[in-house]
Subunit: 381 residues, 2 copies
């Protein structure tokens, strides 16, 4: 507890944009997020009052950090499970726990567990050789069990030759059928240690090159029973896996129904729309969950909400400040979130959110705003 | 400019809750508010990465602070005008400027200037003696020209004897007629150096003991022409006084129409509802204005928005953390803003905001939530 305020201290390991936005939410709750960052220039370290420097793989740094926190949570999923167990053994509260987090860290474990639960997943198998891959059938999707995100570690394979180096690398791999994809959806659910759950409306996520570029909330033209089924599935996974905090369930919509693609156990890009678009943002909800506070209302704050990621564009041209001016002049109602990052082509440097009554209008506004920030010029009609 | 982000640095003099909430808004714009605080335990100093300690009356401290900022603005109105002029003379951008801010610092100057502009004000006069007060007529409202806020420095006087010590103190005083008050209203308007203005919907403010306790947005049952007139008046005052940043115009609704009560040139308690209740919060709008960015959309985000202040209650009882638990369980849709302050009876320690379709329902929810935080028990029906 912070004796100055009488309120708890949440520590977040990792100083990226998720920690940055969680700090904003913590401020409203009377708190100040404590951040363990690698570097003083990381997104959250630029804005939080209370930053410790250290690596998420350094157990000593983690121990020192945890001592000053009421509860520890994560900006990413890269903290080794044995480190989390060591912190818990030392009496610290860490959420999500290692038993849950392993399913967001290891795709092989995740696929096996979801299969055991009878949750809908693509046909899949672990593979250790070219022969096993051929036996599974091509084309298919090969994934490294660990370490991938934003499309990294995911390979659409038509011919074994394409991944012969990967097969030889010793990396643990799984293969999945290439599903007939209609679109991608996602559901956020929060769960507290007490066991309370709160689920958000199902959203559609639009990906490009493996990176989420746009989120539509609520997912348009989704049958109510399918949406309810997706929410129930997310709640069931959160409960079965013992998740505490936010769980994002990424889904493929296929002709045969929904299948689970990935799990993330933290605030997630597919939930950034909730900052203005839901009554309780995913960042506040994550804090509530790890603190065992009662969950907040997940209702939509507007009939249509569209989030567009802002990626770093080509070098040169207008400064980011000038781009922001143009965006604000062109789209006075679009909400901007910049992460304080140096621009680099393809890097997520922020996001924008448009809210309104009409989805098409919101998409157009979010796209125009995002284009100004990425390219420093107007989107051509 | 912050060379790490390519974005400007706004410095705010004063480390209270307005700076705290402005920092939240700055984070979204890719910035981090630089704060000049008196003490490390002030509301904003608890949460901002970039805090300098120093007094707002110490010109050396102000000079040092201003050197590191692209633009300087205020959490309160107590910086001496001559200090502001010295900063501007040294080449710093300071908004609002001293010429505008004097009208928020000195009620005598404000009344005289508004009278010159033909703006509606109560009948008033400067007074220097008991005889002048009697000549003005009693009962009346006597105010110290400088230094008052939250009801301090304001005296409803029925008999001269009641303020005989004040009259003898040498404080500069004005007297105003005691208007027949139907209710109080307020309008927020933002103005940029370029001259762009953006005005928010007119709100009703409910006061108790001179402190704003509740704000209803939009003001219920207000004729459209009266609302438009109030917005036009606020814009005219902002333009005529050369305000840059937020201007709050506090109004009395009387049988004879609206009259101006007070002016504030900064984000203001009567605008806290905008954080969730308007498309652009007053804090983001203030940043946009002082940075000469284009203004944001001021539209309501819900048909009805109610903000209730949270005042420190009697000592003892539940901890603030327990109170927050109860509030969250009882009112999952109410938004909480705690300022990180030690509780003291009557002190503003936070606010809550309820949004929805029905004003009465929002008032009831905000009142219940505020009661939990102030008293640590349920509001009796």
């Amino acid at each position: 507890m912070d004796t100055r305020t009488g309120l708890p201290v949440v520590g977040m390991i990792g100083g990226g944009q998720l920690a940055r936005m969680t700090h904003q939410a913590a401020i409203a709750l009377g708190q100040s997020l404590r951040v363990l960052a690698n570097d003083v220039d990381e997104s959250a370290a630029l804005v939080a009052a209370d930053v410790q420097l250290g690596s998420h793989t350094d157990l000593d740094a983690l121990r020192t950090f945890a001592k000053s926190c009421d509860v520890v949570t994560f900006d990413h999923e890269h903290v080794p499970g044995e480190h989390i167990r060591a912190l818990v053994a030392a009496g610290h509260k860490v959420f999500p726990g290692a038993d849950a987090l392993q399913y967001a860290q290891d795709k092989h474990l995740m696929r096996r567990r979801l299969s055991e639960l009878g949750a809908p997943v693509p046909r899949w198998a672990p593979i250790a050789s070219a022969a096993e891959l051929v036996a599974f059938g091509l084309p298919a999707v090969v994934k490294t069990a660990r370490g991938g995100y934003d499309g990294r570690g995911v390979f659409v394979v038509n011919d074994v030759e394409e991944i012969i180096d990967l097969l030889a690398s010793g990396a643990e791999l799984i293969v999945e059928e290439k599903v007939e994809l209609r679109r991608e959806l996602a559901v956020q659910v929060a769960r507290s240690p007490y066991g309370q759950v709160a689920v958000y409306p199902v959203v559609e996520t639009v990906q490009r090159d493996g990176i989420c570029v746009e989120v539509l909330a609520p997912a348009p033209d989704l049958a109510e029973d399918v949406a309810l089924g997706a929410q129930e599935l997310a709640i069931r996974i959160a409960n079965e896996l013992g998740v505490v905090g936010l769980l994002a369930v990424e889904l493929f919509e296929t002709p045969a129904g929904l299948v689970v693609n990935e799990l993330a156990m933290r605030p997630h890009n597919s939930g950034h729309w909730t900052i203005e678009g839901a009554r309780t943002s995913q960042f506040e909800q994550h804090l509530r969950a790890v603190l065992d506070y009662p969950m907040g209302d997940t209702a939509l704050a507007a009939p249509a909400v569209v989030m567009a990621n802002v990626l770093g564009g080509p070098e040169g041209g207008m400064s980011i400040d000038e781009r922001l001016h143009h965006l604000m002049a062109a789209e006075p109602g679009v909400k901007v979130h910049l992460y304080g990052k140096q621009t680099r082509p393809g890097r997520k440097i922020g996001h924008v959110t448009a809210l309104g009554d009409d989805l098409a209008d919101c998409r157009a506004r979010a796209a125009r705003a995002g284009h100004w920030l990425t390219y420093g010029k107007a989107l051509e009609a």
